[in-house]
């Protein structure tokens, strides 16, 4: 019976929906996390009687045909790349992006990844790195005897060296932007990779047209809204239950047929 398979596709879809929601809730406190949403579409239809086909020679037509659907499919789990709230941390190497753009990160295997998580550190050589120790951008080195590191809205990194009165320019944090940000592939560790769907990275300076600006001593929080996630979770759970009821009802119908003898 088709209803069994149809309800099974419904249960699978809702299971995936709950997975996506639980991942959003689990990452509610992850810096720079962008929530995802499961998107569904109906599957192909079986046309048992086509609407619009002729029912008589007098030109009468079928006003509404018989179309039986075959369930639901998941088409995408796009990320919603909206701005998360910005929180003050008072750490001088915490940088939040306000607006469009990603920091580019050099992975140990030579590839470039992109992130919105600006909780940077200094490694043994003084290079600005991510919390995992990957170099940020082309590698800005903060010398040992520097103090008062400042990163301005345009991404320029400055520090006072030795006992200098004026700050020294150390480099610029650049931003990468994509035509289709939703097409980026998430690789974990708050990092995204470029794909054929995202288009190539467009490198620019913060505050240029089309790019956001930077805010030092702040971090961008996740853009997950707890209330809407929980209400989505409830809706998904109930939908799952209803689909399982369909399986039960279809099973009862089949068993009453089987018991006809």
């Amino acid at each position: 019976m088709k209803a069994l398979n149809i309800a099974a596709t419904g249960m699978l879809a809702q299971e995936l929906n709950v997975e996506v929601i639980s991942n959003n809730i689990a990452n509610m406190r992850t810096t720079g996390f962008k929530r995802s949403r499961a998107e569904f579409q109906d599957l192909l239809y079986q046309n048992l009687r086509r609407p619009g086909s002729a029912t008589s020679d007098a030109g009468t037509i079928v006003p509404a045909g018989v179309e039986i659907g075959s369930g639901v499919k998941t088409t995408a789990t796009p990320r919603i790349m909206s701005q998360g709230s910005v929180q003050s941390t008072e750490r001088e190497l915490d940088v939040a992006i306000r607006g469009e753009g990603f920091f580019s990160i050099q992975l140990p295997d030579g590839r470039t990844a992109y992130t919105r998580d600006g909780s940077f550190e200094r490694d043994a050589t003084g290079t600005i790195v991510t919390a995992n120790g990957y170099t940020v951008g082309s590698g800005i080195i903060i010398p040992e005897n520097s103090r008062g590191i400042s990163i301005n809205a345009q991404g320029s990194v400055q520090a006072y060296l030795n006992n200098d009165v004026a700050p020294t320019e150390l480099g610029t944090l650049q931003l990468a932007n994509f035509t289709n940000k939703v097409g980026l592939e998430a690789m974990g560790d708050n990092l995204y990779l470029e794909t054929a769907a995202s288009g190539t990275a467009q490198i620019g300076t913060p505050d240029d047209p089309g790019y956001g600006n930077l805010l030092q001593t702040h971090l961008e929080m996740a853009n997950v809204n707890a209330v809407s996630q929980i209400s989505d979770l409830i809706a998904a759970q109930r939908a799952y239950e209803m689909n399982s009821r369909v399986i039960k009802a279809a099973d009862e119908m089949l068993s009453s047929t089987a018991n006809l003898r």
């Binding site: 209803a3 075959s70 088409t75 796009p78 054929a196 288009g199 109930r238 009802a249 018991n259």
Partner: protein, 244 residues
């Protein structure tokens, strides 16, 4: 006696199809822009399939015929999503989407950009504006969609979303992937809401009650067929008893 079984059988076949329709509705309870489907039945006076040796004039057999499925086009709930490329469209209009098979119509406004910056559906089909597909450059930001469908970004006005209505929406066929196919689209002025999606108009309660109704009706028919069978067995036994 076989006539009763034939009639029950016609009802059971129709009920199975109705169950499939209900299952499809419930499976799509969280599909954006999905429209509920309903089964329609009518009485069918059966002129041929009769198991009566001597047909009588006043005993007409009426079978059940599932004449069609109709789509309930009433609007689903509008959910705010916060994504800039999610668009909800008012009451009875459709978005126009270009597929390989030609123009298709949808109420699912969960749009995205592709590599070229063109506005597409989640299947990658281009969404039609009044002057063709709508594209954005790589550095354009702040995409906003006004209530009349005008799309603008940091680079100025980009186009206007196309909306169509149909005189006879029941004539539309479902093409899967939230798309409808059909002819006779009439351009219309519609209201658009950015950052919102139209949910499925499936009402869980209605579907579950219909499902219970279907499964009980099916069971009662199965019982009825069993009774007829018993009756026949009885008849065969009694009539077949030979008195020595």
């Amino acid at each position: 006696m076989e006539n009763a079984e034939l009639i029950s059988l016609s009802r059971q076949t129709a009920l199975r199809r109705q169950m499939n329709v209900v299952a499809n509705n419930l499976a799509n309870i969280s599909t954006s822009g999905y429209k509920t489907e309903r089964s329609m039945f009518s009485e069918y006076m059966m002129p041929v399939a009769e198991a009566t040796t001597f047909p009588t004039q006043d005993q007409r057999l009426s079978y059940v015929w599932d004449r069609g499925t109709l789509t309930e086009f009433d609007a689903g709930p509008i959910k705010l999503t916060g994504a800039p490329l999610d668009v909800a469209i008012d009451d009875n209009a459709f978005f126009v989407v270009e597929t390989e098979q030609g123009l298709r119509y949808t109420r699912n406004g969960a749009f995205q950009l592709n590599t070229e910056g063109t506005l597409v559906t989640s299947e990658g089909f281009a969404v039609q504006g009044e002057g063709g597909p709508i594209s954005f450059g790589p550095t354009e930001t702040n995409i906003s969609i006004a209530a009349d469908g005008t799309i603008s970004s940091s680079a100025g006005e980009k186009g206007k979303l196309q909306a169509v209505t149909f005189d006879a929406p029941q004539q539309l066929t479902r093409a899967g992937s939230s798309l409808f196919a059909g002819e006779g689209a009439i351009p219309s002025q519609s209201l658009f809401t950015q950052g919102a999606l139209e949910g499925s108009n499936v009402r869980g309660v209605v579907e579950v009650t219909e499902m219970i109704e279907v499964s009980r009706a099916y069971q009662s028919l199965a019982n009825m067929m069993k009774r007829f069978d018993d009756l026949r067995k009885d008849a065969v036994q009694r009539l077949g008893t030979v008195r020595a």
